[in-house]
């Protein structure tokens, strides 16, 4: 495809219809190129969509259709809500949903309040002690005490076995704070000055000027925190010996990898167990963890790049 042969052809094909968005000077794509690109991108999307689809579908399938598929159900036949009914009839899973909801709601609220306050406190130019405080934050990104000392500290703080052990140790994410901070730094300096002249103090400024103008980045950060809390696993493994305080991820882990039967299923009686397939129940729990994410991400998606990059580049 040398330039010599390209330009005359481009001239002759110019009157033909150009795809919207393609520049005048751009050559028409080759058929093979288009085809292979389309194939690759389709496969890539399928690699994500098919597993999610199969998991959700299996969770809605009857035992019969799961058995005839021999595993995950890819094509729907025989749908029912039976698995969900069984899982929510009390026992570990319903408890885990409550735990996950608690950790996610309380944790996200706490993390956001703490992060936004800290980010704003460090975002005003030339404020007192900004550099040392910022260094204090950044050091934790480069070096940490490690697993064991953290475990000992958390235990010493009497958090072992408490739901707060899944929230407090990971409540502050320095990277997120830096992203919010750099967003605040770039936000409406004139507006802040004007409001300050009108007598607004820092709290007022943050609440009525800075937060309303930073909604995109705050939405993204809320989502980041919420997703992390929703999937919390390792802190639960470390600090929660009691299965009544397990979040969803921990329950899935116990079912799938420790070879345990669904805990808490005993209470629903043998009859229920015979009608349901282990896999179907398991996929219910997986779906419960997946679906909120799948439903919610598209709403904040358009802000991702903004939220990620202001922080990543200015760091």
């Amino acid at each position: 495809m040398s330039s010599l042969t390209q330009s005359p052809r481009a001239a002759t094909t110019a009157p033909r219809k150009r795809a919207k968005g393609r520049q005048v000077w751009e050559e028409r794509p080759t058929r093979i190129g288009q085809f292979s690109k389309g194939t690759v991108l389709t496969v890539v999307c399928a690699l994500v969509i098919v597993p999610v689809w199969a998991v959700v579908l299996t969770s809605f399938s009857t035992k019969g259709s799961i058995n005839s598929a021999g595993g995950l159900v890819l094509i729907p036949h025989g749908l029912s809500l039976q698995n969900y009914q069984l899982i929510f009839s009390g026992g570990t899973v319903s408890q885990a949903v409550y735990v996950s909801l608690f950790v996610t709601l309380i944790g996200t609220a706490l993390s956001m309040v703490v992060s936004v306050l800290c980010a704003y406190g460090l975002s005003r130019p030339r404020s007192l002690g900004q550099r040392p405080l910022l260094m204090m934050l950044i050091v934790t990104m480069f070096f940490n005490g490690g697993l064991i000392p953290t475990f000992l500290v958390v235990s010493d703080l009497k958090l072992y076995g408490s739901l707060w052990a899944m929230i407090l140790p990971s409540a502050v994410n320095v990277f997120n704070i830096l992203i919010i901070r750099s967003f605040f730094q770039n936000t409406a300096a004139e507006m802040i000055e004007a409001a300050r002249l009108d007598g607004a103090n820092e709290w007022r400024l943050l609440w009525s000027v800075v937060i309303p103008t930073s909604r995109p980045v705050l939405a993204v950060m809320t989502m980041f925190y919420a997703v992390t809390y929703w999937g919390t696993f390792f802190n639960a493994l470390l600090y929660e010996p009691d299965s009544r305080k397990w979040p969803l991820a921990m329950v899935i882990y116990e079912y799938t990898y420790s070879g345990n039967q669904m805990p808490g299923m005993g209470t629903t009686g043998i009859g229920g167990l015979q009608q349901a397939s282990q896999l179907g129940l398991q996929m219910c729990v997986v779906s419960l963890s997946l679906v909120p994410i799948v439903v919610l991400t598209p709403f904040v998606q358009k802000h991702f790049a903004k939220g990620m990059l202001t922080g990543a580049i200015k760091g």
Binding site: S3, L41, L72, F142, D156, E193, Q301
Partner: protein, 345 residues
């Protein structure tokens, strides 16, 4: 109070003398000449300082206190005597660590998996970004992005469960193979291919998310360069070679530096979850080693060791220090390339 701050904000930024050679691109504006006294600044900024307190408190408790807790690695920790009164044994635990072949095995695993990920994972987001970038329809693009970003938000427990149900012993793949009379292959429990499995999981989860930075870098390239090159007769591939590639250089180096700095962190949860299935020989890396030996807790470990906090902490410290060296070294390297790296020179 208000007048002080406005005065400050409007003060001319004085030209600042630089100590090092390379000119800074946008250095912070210099502090104003007439310095306000500490007390005035404290009164002015006290609410700002107050706002940072909750975050700093949490960091102090859960990040800095554990750093002090590192002394446990130099003690023979006894639960009943606590951190302060336990026997101080100096470098004893480290001597044990270095003498243990299991530890070196975990170290080797870490490096091997990290290397495999570098080779097989790193180019994927770049290639994907180049492809997605040429999709003209914004709707299709948005859809593709929405789909490939998704797995980033799934926790590893979910990712591995999904892999298990597709590639595991009773998974979709093996059901299919059996149906067609081919002997099954349980990828999930094969220690030999474990490093590729882990990499595949990482690619599935994170490669789509990795697109973001590369797409942004591609969008930041001056489009008129492409037009000028096309007018001069450069074809698609030459434009890619001479405009796109140089445009991506900075971000690629930054990403490599980050990867290098994190070379010793290779999916802790991933290893932990799958350790039982593939065995410690394949799945033990530095992080899990520290956990298994330090806290253990009947975690299906092949060894019957109970909790040995000091030993685990020593392994953790070994990793933390090595990681720090790697991060700083990687940044040096970035600066040598004339790039910013994680922080500016």
């Amino acid at each position: 109070m208000a007048s002080i701050t406005t005065q400050e904000a409007t003060a001319e930024p004085a030209p600042r003398r630089r100590r090092f050679g390379r000119p800074r691109r946008q250095g912070p504006p210099a502090p104003p000449r007439p310095r306000l006294s500490f007390r005035i600044r404290l009164r002015r900024d006290k609410s700002l300082l107050l706002m940072t307190v909750p975050a700093l408190l949490l960091l102090l408790l859960f990040n800095y206190l554990p750093m002090a807790g590192i002394i446990v690695a130099f003690e023979h920790y006894d639960i009943y005597q606590g951190l302060i009164h336990s026997n101080f044994v100096g470098l004893d635990e480290f001597r044990q660590l270095v003498a243990n072949p299991d530890f070196w095995h975990a170290f080797e695993n870490t490096l091997v998996i990290s290397f495999v990920q570098l080779i097989l994972y790193f180019p994927v987001p770049i290639a994907l970004a180049l492809m997605v970038n040429t999709v003209l329809s914004t709707k299709v693009r948005g859809f593709i992005q929405a789909v490939v970003y998704l797995p980033h938000f799934f926790s590893y427990v979910l990712v591995i469960t999904i892999f298990q149900e597709f590639l595991g012993g009773a998974g979709v793949l093996n059901v299919f193979l059996n149906k067609h009379g081919i002997s099954s292959w349980n990828i999930m429990t094969d220690p030999g291919t474990f490093k590729y499995l882990v990499t595949a999981q990482a690619v599935w989860k994170e490669a789509g998310w990795g697109l973001i930075v590369f797409l942004a870098a591609l969008a930041a390239i001056d489009q008129s360069l492409y037009e000028a090159a096309a007018v001069d007769g450069a074809g698609r591939w030459r434009r890619m070679r001479h405009i796109t590639m140089p445009g991506l250089r900075g971000i690629v180096i930054l990403m490599l530096v980050l990867r290098l700095g994190n070379a010793l962190s290779v999916g802790f949860e991933q290893m932990l979850i799958q350790r039982q299935a593939v065995g410690a020989g394949a799945a033990d890396v530095l992080d899990t080693y520290s956990y298994i030996y330090g806290i253990g807790g009947g975690f299906g470990s092949s060894t019957t060791m109970g909790a040995d906090y000091s030993y685990g902490a020593a392994a953790g410290l070994f990793k933390a220090v090595l990681s720090l060296i790697l991060i700083l070294g990687a940044n040096r390297l970035a600066h040598a390339f004339g790039e910013d790296g994680l922080y500016r020179k």
